[in-house]
Amino acid sequence: MAEQLREPVVDQIYSLNLGPQHPSTHGVLRVLLDLDGEFIIKADPIIGYGHRGHEKMGENRTYKQFMPNSSRMDYLSGMLFNHGFALAVEKLSGIEVPERAKYIRTICAEMNRISSHLLWFGTYVMDLGGFTPFLYAFDDREQILDILDSVSGSRLTYSYCRFGGVCKDVGTDFVDRTRAFVKRLLSRFPDYHNLVTKNIIFIHRTRGVGVVTQEQARQFGVTGPNLRATGIEYDVRKAEPYEIYDRFDFNVPVGSKGDALDRYNVRLEEMVQSCRIIEQALDQMPKGDYHNESAAFKVRPPKGEVYFAVESARGQTGYYLVSDGSAFPYRCHIRVPSFGNLHVLTDVLKGTLVADAISILGSIDVVIPEIDR
């Protein structure tokens, strides 16, 4: 393993700029590295290139008008962010959701999780130099995007959820296509494992690289697959079951060492578990309303606040809404998972090789616009 064998001499430190235009930083990220030879002494991420003022917009839009904003923060988990926002407002206002709508939302959310993980898988291996799995993963992802396009009208940034359900019902076409897709995806995993997971070069690039300890995870607020790779079994869907997740039988994959290989394995296994949830949901989905018609068109929640957390593809996303009784939120704060996931890198990158920095950055799976809001 690569270790720093001597103390760096101060006048030999030079700084190198990684980004903001770089093929491997996901989103617009600039990391200022202080290097001693090939070892990183200090890593300082500089963000804010994608700041659009979503939280200020949140105070100037009605609740319904903010729904498109929510999916543009983390554009890869747009449906999950939509879902979380709808749930938060429904909790604040006490709006009921019909059963069918709950199932539809859960299925779409899990499909979104799979598509986000597939994209991460493709781009991560591409960063390491293996160009081919990227195209195989995108082949699968195209099917998800087509299915979600047929129900919601958008491929990437959805505004599908409404307060009290969804905006459009799904037909048998959706059910058949989703079932076929899940079947096909499960049959593709042996290919992915043969091509990537068992590849000796890939294992050498990821085993023992970028270890995040449990204490670091706690200090920096790391959540999601990065946290589970360190060994802490915490998934918001199991810890604070929302919607109908307590009706499904699924496992939460956990790693042990917290290195990049563990993070990779956790995410691949999460895709399999999401497939399980989708299959069970498709079996259990009842007929009925897709939207609570009695919900007011312009939602005016009573005075108060709510903090609602959902498990998005990258970790725990929290919506903190404060309502003053009007149609506009008084404060709309979103706690995004990539914030802590990126921050932990300032600690993890110390003492690692520059060549590993790309591998570690890729394995953490950050989406910068989510941090910038």
């Binding site: 690569a2 190198l16 990684l18 093929p23 491997s24 291996v125 591409m126 960063d127 390491l128 130099g129 293996g130 160009f131 081919t132 990227f134 195209l135 195989y136 082949d139 091509l195 990537v196 590849n199 070069i201 890939f202 050498h204 690039r205 090789l353 520059v354 060549a355 590993d356 920095a357 790309i358 591998s359």
Partner: protein
């Protein structure tokens, strides 16, 4: 006497012209082949618009490259900067002089043919270093330095594996090495040396999984960052021509050159056998590129110094011992 000398000169000039033409056409063909192979491995068709099956795509790319502005950075050392791409391409062409395309089609069957090819291929390392240094760019220099380290490290097991073959044939003349394989190809007698040669050849030509010096998705963009237009085109073509040369050498040393398997010709001319085998090896090199991720640089160096070199030394030793007792 004069007549022989005259025909000698004519033969040389004609041969050089043919070699130049062939190397250009070959490079064009290989660029197209790479894109098609990459496409089909990635479940997509690759170029298909320009010309039948996209065969004229490379010509279109070449015209585009020629039309681009040749930018020389203001702070670069312009003499070295301009010379470097030329020096990368030139030595590779020299290799064509000694390749045994068929019993009659060797331009110059030198008695140190093997040595000549490897001596000239080392020039490219100097040229890459010159290009990286002259660019006056932190990233280009890092890429060039890594390329030099990689090339030096993998040159040694390459030459040691070639030595094992030369020891068996007692000659460095390509024609004799090929003729010595008329009963059995050397790949069956020296499988370890053959494998080492192929791996080191991939590393020598800076192909994946050993393409750190020119990798786009790593921290540095590689030694040819600052090159634009046809200068970049020369680096690019040199890589593909180099790939042809090492595959051709592998064919001659291990796979029987212009001969058919086990001496059976099947009435196919020698040059066809030679080119067929060479292109199959090139295809394998391309196949490897699109399948495997990249090794980290220190893992790459460890692999060479701690695995390849001891293995090739042991192979040489075993060859010597076995030959002593046969």
């Amino acid at each position: 006497m004069g007549h022989e000398m005259g025909s000698d000169w004519v033969r040389l000039v004609v041969g050089l012209v043919v070699v130049l033409a062939f190397s250009q056409l070959n490079a064009l063909f290989l660029v197209w082949l790479e894109r098609k192979v990459a496409g089909h491995i990635q479940l997509r068709p690759g170029p298909k618009e320009v010309g039948p099956f996209g065969l004229l795509q490379t010509i279109a790319d070449g015209i585009k490259l020629v039309g681009k502005e040749l930018i020389t950075p203001a702070t670069a050392d312009w003499k070295l900067f301009i010379i470097a791409p030329v020096f990368v391409f030139m030595p590779v062409l020299v290799g064509f002089l000694v390749l045994p395309f068929s019993p009659q089609l060797i331009l110059r069957d030198m008695n140190a043919g093997v040595l000549l090819i490897f001596a000239f291929s080392t020039f490219t390392v100097l040229a890459i270093l010159a290009g990286g240094w002259a660019s006056n760019n932190k990233y280009a220099l890092l890429g060039a330095v890594r390329s030099v380290a990689q090339n030096v490290a993998y040159e040694i097991p390459l030459l040691l594996s070639v030595m094992s073959v030369v020891l068996m044939v007692h000659s460095m003349r390509f024609a004799e090495i090929v003729q010595a394989q008329d009963k059995l190809w050397f790949i069956f007698l020296q499988p370890v040396a053959g494998l080492i040669f192929l791996i080191c050849a991939t590393a020598e030509t800076n192909r994946a999984p050993f393409d750190i010096p020119e990798a786009e998705s790593e921290l540095v963009a590689g030694f040819h960052t600052e090159y634009s237009g046809m200068r970049f085109g020369l680096f690019f073509l040199a890589e593909y021509t180099n790939m042809f040369i090492v595959s051709a050498v592998a064919t001659s040393l291990f796979f029987g050159g212009w001969q058919g398997p086990f001496g059976f010709d099947l009435h196919i001319p020698g040059i066809v056998w030679f080119l067929m085998k060479t292109y199959v090896l090139i295809f394998v090199i391309m196949w490897v590129r699109w399948t495997f991720p990249r090794l980290r640089f220190d893992q790459l160096m460890n692999f060479s110094w701690k695995v390849m070199i001891p293995l090739s030394l042991a192979n040489l030793l075993v060859t010597a011992v076995v030959l002593k007792f046969i």
